[in-house]
Amino acid sequence: MDKPILEVKNLSVSFNAFSGTVRAVRNIDLELYKGETLVIVGESGSGKSVTTKAILGILPKNGRIDSGEIIYQGEDMAKYKEKDFYNIRGKRISLVFQDPLSALNPIMKIGKQITEALILSGKYDKKSAKKRAIELMEAVGIPKPELRYEQYPFQFSGGMRQRIVIAIALASDPEILICDEPTTALDVTIQSKILELINEMKAKNDLSIIFITHDLGVVANMADRICVMYAGKIVEFGTAEDIFYRPAHPYTWALLSSIPDLDTKEKLFSIPGAPPNMLAPPKGDAFAQRNKYALAIDFEEEPPFFKLSDTHYAATWLLHPDAPKVEMPEILAHRIERMKEANGIVD
């Protein structure tokens, strides 16, 4: 395999909160390869957004990187000062936000919001920036871009605003696009269109994408590789096929079982309990409390990653040679069978 273009090594991030230190991300490793879509999936508070914020150096003021490296273009961005990020943000790595309603400045014209960074970077003058902005607006599917250029965000619908946010993110031809739940705030009908747009832009602009979501169903068609996060840690990662067809971690099982699909006749699975308190992460495997398949060791010792294939790793004691053989829940196994059939895959 090629060398990754972005590499996160052993990253830990914590926040100083009113009642103590929250350990939001704990020793995670990530690799992003050129041209791929890496999906990070996990429930709210699992640390997925925090990871991307750390990559871009936009952690809130009370957050800090405790340890680890973020290697990009041969440099460790974890050690960057605010000033060093100015050549990265927007120009090399861009971010698409979750909520397009609040991501645009309500009292600034759309056109200016797209061209602003271009002009300030000094590479464009007013005229060429406008030309570029209108091209971008056209590319992201805004009808009548010349007219829309002069309008304000409140005159745009939610989906249109997200297209604008994407246009802004792509304005300076970045290499990496980070999408932080870009469809969560949108109507379901708009969601798929935005996903299509992101895919299209990826092909056109030769992007590598980190896609954050809490909903695996949304990204089934676009993911190349998937990382599953729980309580600030990565619990399983592999190619999309590894995760969808051969999940190994009980948490991934639970996640997959909770996706609704048309053929499911049983009651939809929900994961019992609540995520652990990150002020004091539990000893051992953080998921053990909620895990039907928890072993005694889970409550004592954190599991290492067990290698399932060259691309597929999972951190669960169930894969230890001494562990009892446990099969994934039957419902999930059926469901995977159906998916495989639908997609014409035979083992």
Binding site: I58, R89, A103, P106, A171
Partner: protein, 316 residues
């Protein structure tokens, strides 16, 4: 936009009409005749005078005369006690400029100082800079302007002799400003604090908004993002407090003018109430209403111009 302006102007005129009507009725319904207390006048003279000022007519007719005279001839009545037989409008003309002078100066110095303090406090939030500003803000908001005026007069003018104790009517130009420095400062402290507090809160919130984050992620520096998006966006709601600020200054100057013996509207109003010379009081009250209502109107309209959501007829 035109509709919006029209609505605002209409609202202002209605309010003004209510105030003028109420003011007139209250003053005319005050017990006793306006000429009472002059033993030299015979009942015939009194009747003649009352006839001259239409006081023998029903109240509504009196009101009609008052409105007609005020708006066609610019005749706001005649002072009876303070400056017997001098038209009120003439008295006001000599008083308005000096009051406006200190009021406008206070507003002009308080806006930039308050804005800068607010911005600094927001950017340095939760540092000693912020705490110092916030502490001063609480003091300046809490302590009434006339207490500041008294203290400044005692310490800066009387003890340290750095400023004149009272206004020097003969001074012009810079000397005039110097002799009015203490009243202007006393009036400006509370508005400065109000602006600073408001801007700090607004900017601190804006800095944490998503569009600030977007500005940063699209490649703006911290400074560019703060200026282009943070400060620009938080200055807009500042319009909201300019009206209460200006009325605050206007009200404060009533007392401040008395303290520093400034021959403005404030002293005039206090004197006219104590004389009593209610024709003058009424005129001053109407004048104050016009000023504050025009400020509200001005702010509303400029709000409309600045905020595209109102300008374009979108929802507020």
């Amino acid at each position: 936009m035109l509709k919006y302006v029209f609505e605002r102007v209409l609202a202002m005129l209605v309010t003004l009409a209510i105030i003028v009507t109420m003011g007139f009725m209250v003053i005319r319904l005050m017990p006793g005749s306006m000429f009472e207390g002059n033993p030299d006048m015979s009942p015939e003279q009194l009747a003649a005078l009352e006839a001259k000022y239409h006081l023998d007519k029903p109240l509504l007719v009196q009101y009609g005369y008052f409105l007609r005279d005020a708006f066609t001839k610019g005749d706001w009545g005649t002072s009876l006690k303070l400056y017997p037989n001098v038209p009120v409008w003439e008295i006001l003309q000599t008083r308005i400029p000096i009051s406006m002078y200190i009021n406008v100066y206070s507003l002009l110095i308080s806006l930039p100082i308050g804005v800068i303090l607010g911005i600094v406090a927001a950017i340095k939030k939760n540092t000693w800079v912020d705490y110092t500003v916030s502490f001063l803000v609480v003091i300046c908001i809490s302590v009434p302007s006339f207490v500041f005026a008294t203290l400044m007069q005692y310490f800066f003018a009387f003890k340290m002799e750095a400023f004149p104790i009272i206004y020097e009517p003969t001074a012009v130009g810079m000397a005039k400003l110097y002799s009015l420095a203490l009243p202007i400062m006393a009036l400006a402290l509370s508005p400065i604090a109000r602006v600073a507090r408001y801007l700090r809160a607004e900017l601190a919130e804006t800095i944490n908004s998503d569009f600030m984050l977007l500005a940063k992620t699209k490649g703006l520096t911290e400074r560019q993002a703060t200026i282009n998006h943070g400060i620009r966006n938080s200055l807009l709601p500042l319009m909201n407090i300019i009206v209460p600020m200006f009325t605050n200054i206007l009200g404060g100057s009533l007392v401040i003018e008395t303290i520093f013996a400034i021959p403005g509207m404030g002293g005039m109003m206090v004197n006219s109430i104590n004389a009593p010379d209610y024709e003058v009081t009424l005129a001053i009250l109407i004048f104050y209403s016009i000023i504050s209502l025009s400020t509200i109107l001005l702010v509303d309209i400029s709000y409309g111009i600045i905020d595209p959501r109102i300008r374009m007829g979108g929802k507020k």
